[in-house]
Symmetry: C2
Subunit: 144 residues, 2 copies
């Protein structure tokens, strides 16, 4: 326990190795990955592919709520960043298989940590939110 409360050593708790990307776009890998995880579908897809291989329409049906446009775009993004691999089987009709790469697999670790935290503290957030909203309503609606 040197400079933090949790005792967890990390790039985040270092003096300030992340210079807080002063410029327009971030070249910061952390922000980069965070955005990835933050987008609506990537994580869902990674979770499914973590279990087994999927074909395009199989993913489409499994997620159900995603448009094929977003499925394609998200898969392309994940493929580009090396999280998933795309294998085309030249059959008729064509079939395309998506898998997690090794990189994608290692990503499930830290992702799980965050997911577990979310599940554990989700109620706390909900409570805080209701609490806050209640106060806000008081301050806005009426002082009586």
């Amino acid at each position: 326990m040197s400079d933090t409360h949790t005792g967890v050593p990390s790039v985040l708790t270092a003096p300030l190795p992340i210079p807080v990307p002063t410029a327009e776009h971030q070249a910061c890998p952390v922000t980069d990955v965070l955005r990835r995880a933050g987008d609506r579908w990537s994580v869902l897809i990674l979770i499914l592919l973590g279990k087994r291989s999927y074909r395009f329409n199989e993913l489409h049906r499994s997620i159900e709520g995603i448009s094929q446009r977003m499925l394609t775009r998200t898969l392309r993004g994940l493929e580009r960043d090396g999280f998933v691999s795309r294998t085309v089987h030249p059959s008729v009709p064509p079939s395309v298989e998506y898998d997690l790469t090794d990189l994608g697999r290692t990503f499930l670790g830290p992702l799980s940590a965050l997911a577990d935290w979310a599940v554990l503290h989700g109620p706390d957030i909900t409570t805080a939110r209701e609490h806050h909203d209640a106060h806000a309503a008081n301050h806005a609606g009426n002082g009586a």
Copy 2:
């Protein structure tokens, strides 16, 4: 080591405790938290507040690239969800102090895990990206 490669037990590796939010909005706490972490400024602010208390304009200057609009909005969001606390000192001129709550502090743990992963594998992603883009350029630019 039952159903996963990493051996990391998690809600993500369970049979499928997250029913993949079929509906429009997600009530899923995981997605919720992920979005939080994914937005551009929240994490930066949490990191700074993890070190010490900050006043509004102090944060504004420290991040520098953020508009006061977004700073306000992000702080309100974090406050609403119970990550940060806002303390008004009724002085003239007024001063407002922002701190991390206990909840916010515990969040730094899993966040660090993800940040460390990002720093560690950032190069891999960059490489994969360049590799992918190079191929894409070949396939698009010319067939000759």
